[in-house]
Each structure stands twice: as structure tokens, then as C-alpha cells.
């Protein structure tokens, strides 16, 4: 059981961004992806989720053996168990957080079955308390007028409520203050489970002190070029990406 990305090529317009990406994350593990700005990390997350702007020209993504690209609509992929916490979460005017998450849960129920409202709120408040999100947020429109950090917390709240099998967290740490980073990390750690895989995209070692990864991958120009244990992140933090590129040149 794993999230398996094989030879993934994706482009936007005629510009290729993912250029043969391979990665496998067994269920139960936490992997980190690090890489320079513009290397294609967010693109990977969006391509997996089925963002309409990107075209997949080759390769596949298997979620426990199920081919994501055989599912046309993003919502089917989501219901199969994929969750993406976005780097830049969208604002959805007019739709409250409570209604939004409720609709997302409702969509996972068999037709004709109704979500129990009391249970739902109970569950929602529990997760909000855990992430130290003020309960007043339930009646605010999704991400509308939220601060950067509030948006990120709200993404994690959604993840906690929707219980995905595999989640991609795209720079969830950016925009979080010091306390928030700890709180959100604890929330993420609480979701570590043998039944789940977490792919954490980040620029900073700091996050990985809290959410300790099993594997760290380095992404350069649309490919995973190096993988290692958590010490790789320390090395990147200390030395930057230049040595990775040098090492690649030497290999070539």
C-alpha cells in the first residue's frame, strides 16, 4: 500500500513543469519534499488533485494501486482518499466553513444518508479546539479575509475532518507564527497513522523538527533528484541547494 508516482510529466500550456517525476511513499510514512522556488512542488500537488490548468502528458499516480488519472473529476480523487492542503488556499465567498466541511463529509455518504448534525458539530468543535481555532470561525466564509496563518490552520482543520488516506501539505508552515507552527504540527502529528501517508512540502528544516519525516526528497526542475533520511534536510538547511546541483553534474 503506497502513494506511487511514476514518470510523471505535466505541462501548463506548452511549458513542461514536471519532467518525469518518480516517488513512492508507503502508507504509514511521512515524506518531505524540499526544493527551490519554481521547481514544481506545488504543481505536483495540483496535478495529483486534478487541477484543470495542467495537462498530464505521461506517467501515472497510484493511490493504493488505484490510478488517479482514470478519475476525471477532482472530487472523485478526493473521495478516493487524496487531500491537498494548498499553499495558497482559495477564498470561497458566501460559503461558511461549517457548511463547507459538512458538504464535503455529506458527499462521502451513500445517497439518501444524511449527516447527523449534532455529531458533526461535536466532531468539528473537537478538531477546532485541538487546532486552537476560535469556534466563531465556523460561521465565516471559507478563507475569506483570513490571515495567511488562519488559512493554513483552516486547511489542516479540513484535513482532520475529512480523514484522507494520503495528504499533501504544501508549505503549510509558511505564514504560521511560532506558536501556530507548533499547534498545527501537533495537529498533523496527531494524524500520523499506519493507515495514512503524509507528503509534506516545505522550505524549512524548522517544520521537520516537529513533523519528523521518514524520508526527505529533493526536487530540482520537475524531478526528484535525491532522497535520504531526515539528516538530508539538515544538510540542505545548512548548505542550500548548490551542492545538490553540483553533485548531480558530477554524476552526469
Amino acid at each position: 500500500m503506497s502513494l506511487k508516482i511514476e514518470n510523471l510529466h505535466a505541462n501548463i500550456g506548452d511549458r513542461e513543469i514536471l519532467k518525469g517525476l518518480n516517488l513512492e511513499m508507503p502508507k504509514g510514512e511521512v515524506h518531505a519534499i524540499m526544493g527551490k522556488n519554481g521547481s514544481g512542488k506545488s504543481t505536483l500537488a495540483k496535478v495529483m488533485a486534478g487541477h484543470p490548468d495542467y495537462e498530464v502528458s505521461a506517467g501515472q499516480v497510484l493511490l493504493d494501486g488505484l490510478n488517479l488519472f482514470e478519475m476525471e473529476e477532482p472530487d472523485q480523487r478526493a473521495r478516493t482518499g487524496l487531500f491537498v492542503a494548498f499553499q495558497y488556499p482559495m477564498e470561497v465567498p458566501g460559503v461558511t466553513i461549517a457548511n463547507f466541511i459538512r458538504a464535503a463529509l455529506q458527499a462521502r455518504l451513500p445517497e439518501g444518508e444524511e449527516l447527523d448534525a449534532v455529531d458533526y458539530y461535536h466532531h468539528l468543535y473537537e478538531k477546532m479546539d485541538l487546532l486552537k481555532i476560535d469556534r466563531k470561525f465556523t460561521s465565516r466564509a471559507v478563507n475569506e479575509g483570513f490571515s495567511g496563518g488562519e488559512k493554513k490552520r483552516c486547511e489542516i482543520l479540513q484535513m482532520a475532518m475529512l480523514n484522507p488516506v494520503y495528504a499533501v501539505l504544501d508549505e503549510t508552515d509558511s505564514g504560521l507564527d511560532i506558536d501556530a507552527l507548533r499547534i498545527v504540527s501537533e495537529g498533523v502529528n496527531a494524524m500520523r497513522s499506519p493507515e495514512r501517508g503524509l507528503l509534506v512540502i516545505t522550505h524549512y528544516q524548522r517544520l521537520l523538527d516537529y513533523i519528523v519525516p521518514d524520508v526527505v526528497h529533493v526536487m530540482v526542475d520537475g524531478r526528484i533528484v535525491m532522497s535520504g533520511d531526515k539528516t538530508l534536510a539538515h544538510k540542505l538547511e545548512a548548505e542550500g541547494y548548490d551542492w545538490v546541483e553540483k553533485e548531480l553534474l558530477q554524476k552526469a
Binding site: G50, P74, F83, F86, F100, A103
Partner: protein, 468 residues
Amino acid sequence: METKPDLNIDRSVGDFHYDVDYEFDAGIGLSEKTIDYICDVKKDPDWIREFRKEALRKFNSMPMPTNWASHDLDNIVFENIRYYLSQGTQPKRSWDDVPEDVKRTFERLGIPEQERKFLAGVEAQFDSEAAYSNIKAAVGEQGVIFVGSTEGLHKHPEIFKKWFGKVIPTGDNKFSALNSAVFSGGSFIYIPPGVKVKHPLQAYFRINAENFGQFERTLIIADEGSEVMYMEGCTAPKFETSTLHSAVVELVALKGAKIQYITVQNWSANVFNLVTKRGLAHEEAEIKWIDCNIGSRLTMKYPGVIMKGRKARGEVISIALAGDGQHQDTGAKMVHAADETTSNIVSKSISLGSGRSTYRGLVQIGRHLKGCKNNTECDALLINTESRTDTYPAITVRGKENACQHEASVSKISAEQIFYMQQRGISKAAAMSLAVNGFVNDLVQQFPMEYSVELKRLIDLEMEGSVG
């Protein structure tokens, strides 16, 4: 890929049609002969026959308003329309007496059930005439009159004649003239002084025939200090050819009376819906229009209130949803004709796909008046980039001692936002419904429960249809 059934077939509850034998059929086209036929069938008094013929002359002499309105109006072929179709002019007082072929239509639309549950009275119009009309005994005993326009004219001529055509003159616009020429059906309601009707009265307008025009005429008079809530629903099946619906609704609220008029229309995409609605509010009276326009090919409707007495209030709350290929041209008209009158307009429009919404508002406050207030708020929601929306507010405030406030906003739901919602597992249709329901939610709260549920369901159906 997920395949969807052909949603055109049952996306809309109203899209079905049974063959019905009509006893009376005025044939195709419009002439004095058509009017004579209608008058003969309905046994109209001479003054009505004259009124109709005069209206026909006005209709023929007036140009299409295409200098400001949609050119799609030119596609209405008046010679191809049938102006009167009925199985008789006497509505039944019991559903058991309604002919089976008509009854099953209304049963399918859930009308008898709603009547039992929460209505004080129901009139169900099928093409040109009401097939059923009844009010609960308790309401009748209070002196409330709720009948069809024909019956109102025959049985209550003194009230009818006093107000008929007084709020909306025949020549107000080309379509009010057309309605005045061939009107049939619609409600006549009189609420005696001080009577507050607890439950809503409801009319349901059903178009069943193809190439047909429905021209109901409604007149509601709320006498001093009385209160009434009236609701209308409308549907028609989806035909290849276009159908015309052109109603005239006149409301009169006498001193201190309150009228609330709620419309939830769900016309199929072949209907031209060209309706004139206006109320006359006397001293301290209140008229409130709540208007939900879903469906139709082109809707033109600008409910209005003339505040004729001191401290009268007028309100228009409207929701318009323009689906693919549809044009909702709606708005409100507020005429302040006395001191300390207040009006409020809240308009929310949603445009979807190639749908188009237009808001036209007119607020007039006379120069000599004092203490008048208007608040206008119009918000548009655009779902995907093809949609368009236009706002044409015209505010004429004269005199320094009056206040007008106008706010407008446009929000967009982009493909990106829909993608975001879909990533949470919500289908595209459900995502759009969520956005639309969120947008109209504060208005829907003002509806009676049964209607807000109905509206939400209609929005869901419309969204499913648009993705299918």
C-alpha cells in the same frame, strides 16, 4: 469518467406534459375575433369586452421595447401563439372533481399536499383557467375572498371594477396591453378590514400546452389594517417552440394594510416571461415583493411599489438565476409619492455559463417630499467567465430632505474556486449550489420555510443541469 444521465429529461420537476382535451380553444393568432371568442366563453360583461379591445389596439400600436430591452423579444411570433385554452371556466372546489388528466399534473407538482400542510387557500391554474380553487372554511368565514379573476369580476363587480387596471394602466407597456387584451385566470383576492390571514394563500400557474400564451391577471386588495401573504409558483414543460407568459399583477394595500407577494418561478428554458407587477401602498401600508426567478429564456420583470400615502413602505427582494443561454432582466421600481415613505430593494443575481443577468432599478422621490428613504443593494455572482451582468440603476431624488443609499457588488466563482471545493470531495454541481446558496442565504432566510427548501432544491437542480 463519470457519466451522467440526460439531465434535460428530469432536471426540472416541472418538465413533463400530459395530453389534455381542451373544450375551448381560441385557435392560433390574435385578432378581435380571438377576443370575442374569449369574451363569449367567459361571458364577460360588455365593459370588459370593450376594455380588451381597446387594449388590443394599444398593443398593436406600441413598439417592442427593443430600444432598451433584449432583441430576443423580436423572436416572439405573436401569430403563432394560442391565446386561450381551457376545459371550462368553472374551477372545482374539490380535487376529486378536477379532471383526472389535470389533477395528476398538480399532484405530481405536490400542490394538494402543500395545501393540506400549510396553506390557507389554493388556486391551481392550468393553461388559461383555474382548474381548482378553494380556501379553508375558517378563512372564508372571515370574509376573505379568494377566487379566479373571472369569478371575481362576476361575483364581486363593485370591488373588482374599482381597482382593476388602476395600478397598472393598460398602456403601461406593450405586454401589459397584451395581457389586458386576452387576460384569463389569475387570482382575485379581497381581505376585509383588520383581517390578518395567518397562513399563505397560494396560486400555482401551470402551462401545459405547446405554442401557448398564459396571461393571468391578479388583483389583490387588502383593506385597512389587514394582512395577507400570497405565493405563486409556476412551471411549464420544456417544448421546442417558445411559450409566452405575460401576467399583470396589481396590489392595493389600503391604510395600514400589509401585503407580501412571493414568487418562486421555475420556467423551462423556452418561456418568454414578461410580467408587470405593481402595488399601490396607502398611508402606513406595506407592500413587499419577494421574487425568485429561475429558468425561462428571457424574463423581464420589475416589481414596483407606488407609495401613495404618508409612511407607506415598499420592498422588493429578488433573486434571479440565469442559467446557460438564459437572460434574467429584472429589477425594481419604487415611486415615492408621499412624505416619510421608505423603500428597500435587495437584488441578487447569479449568472452561470452563458447566462446573463441585468438589473434595472428606478427610484423616484418627488421634489416637494420630506423624510423619504430608499436603500438599494444589488449584488451579482458570476460563475465562470462567460457570464455577464449589467446594472442600470436610475435614481431620481429630488428635494434635499430625502435619502438614498445605493450599494452594488460583483463576486465571482472561478474555475479555480470550484476546483478547490472539488478537492474536498464535493461534486462540481454541489460546489456551485453551495456557492449560490451561500450567496442568496440571507435573503432566503426571509422566506417561509417550505419555500426556502423548495428554492434550494430548484437551485440544486439547476446546477446539476448546468454541469450535465
